[in-house]
Subunit: 216 residues, 2 copies
DNA sequence: TAGATTGTTAATCGATTAACAATC
DNA sequence: TAGATTGTTAATCGATTAACAATC
């Protein structure tokens, strides 16, 4: 199974299709048309077809796409063969929120460790996941074969933590800290930046308000 | 002051420039060149110049951009005149994390209310913000003139909550619930989808691992 | 002045959209 | 068959990149 070259946007959409299919199983039945899936995801039917074509799944002009087989095609493409071990660094409210969120998942992505500097948290379990000291990071990351990490530490510690993670073999980071991480290439970093997103909302919400109000 | 038509990506980058400028004030001094700012944000100098040109701020070939004036230009463009009132709906770990995060900000975006269904939380304060019952939402939103909301409720309640928010005059929503919200146009919705982001990281981390390992 | 940086224009690139024959 | 949907190709659109004269 070879992975084709595909844009990050396409991967994002494929992930959204899968969720729509799993969540809205009752509303689609056993098969689904591109325009139905497009409506559920607020995209165009052409986009859906193009993305599904990219992963090599073919539909049928008479009945659209078979939901069950499509889900298995998506899984083949999106998921790796083995389960992926994930760690969270920083068990503040945000880290704990993500831990609780990941605990409910039952797929190839497994949260196996948490790290913090706070002595009150070290040794405790959050959503059934043990919290270790950040000092133990190298050993625990190696031992549990962790290759994905979620960084929820304060901005001024993020760079240092990220470097330690990469040194210990982590190749993918989901970064919630509001800083740009400078890491060697080959490390995939996805940034979730709440302050930037909020400023975007404020900016465009303002714009739509003005339009609504009109100009006399 | 007229706002030009600008892509959401540009707004995102402008917000990132501002943060880099404020956070790294010591490393830039009083003026900054496009390539310096580009490096701090992991973008290209041309991109930086194009974005700054778009907001009408001019640099000087000899000294680059004046940091102080640039910050004020960014503020003029990104911020609205009045402070914006924000509410969080859903005070789980995630909602509380965001509340704590917003409490530290000192700008035009102010968190003024929180909502939850849980009777144990209603009436309490989180990061100095009062938590109301979701039943009180219409009155509180109107009274406090809230036009931006952050949705951190479970997926199956998000659509209903969002509709109530829009009905009460909210025009911008930052949605953390893993569902596609169907709302009237003119409502700006920004989705932060942790499960999708994590799947992206897993996908591309896998890819970079394979490349690293090579194929014998 | 010389040299690096700027704003501006043209070229490139990629993604999205539209058009259409093939299919069940 | 008829009709809606599919996969595929061409056209459009927008954003990024490269090139270059203007500037301090």
């Amino acid at each position: 199974m070879k992975k084709r070259k595909i844009s990050t946007r396409s991967v994002e959409r494929l992930s959204i299709y899968r969720r729509a299919l799993m969540h809205g199983r009752h509303e689609f039945g056993s098969s689904v048309y591109s325009h139905q899936l497009a409506q559920a995801c607020q995209l165009t039917a052409a986009q859906v077809r193009r993305d599904l074509m990219a992963i090599g799944y073919s539909g049928n002009p008479n009945s659209g796409y078979d939901v069950k087989r499509l889900l298995s095609s998506l899984a083949t493409f999106l998921d790796s063969q083995e389960t992926r071990a994930v760690a969270i660094v920083g068990m503040g409210y945000l880290g704990r929120a993500i831990a609780a969120f990941l605990a409910n998942r039952s797929d190839k992505i497994r949260l196996v460790a948490a790290f913090d500097v706070d002595l009150d948290k070290i040794g405790l379990s959050f959503s059934d996941v043990r919290c270790y000291s950040v000092r133990q990071m190298p050993e625990v990351l190696a031992e549990k074969r962790i290759d994905i990490a979620i960084v929820t530490v304060p901005a001024d510690h993020a760079q240092h933590v990220a470097e330690q993670l990469v040194a210990a073999g982590v190749t993918g980071i989901l970064n919630f800290a509001p800083v740009v991480l400078r890491l060697p290439p080959r490390t995939y970093v996805e940034n979730i930046d709440m302050s930037v997103s909020l400023e975007k909302v404020a900016f465009f919400a303002c714009a739509s308000q003005r339009r609504k109000a009109g100009s006399p």
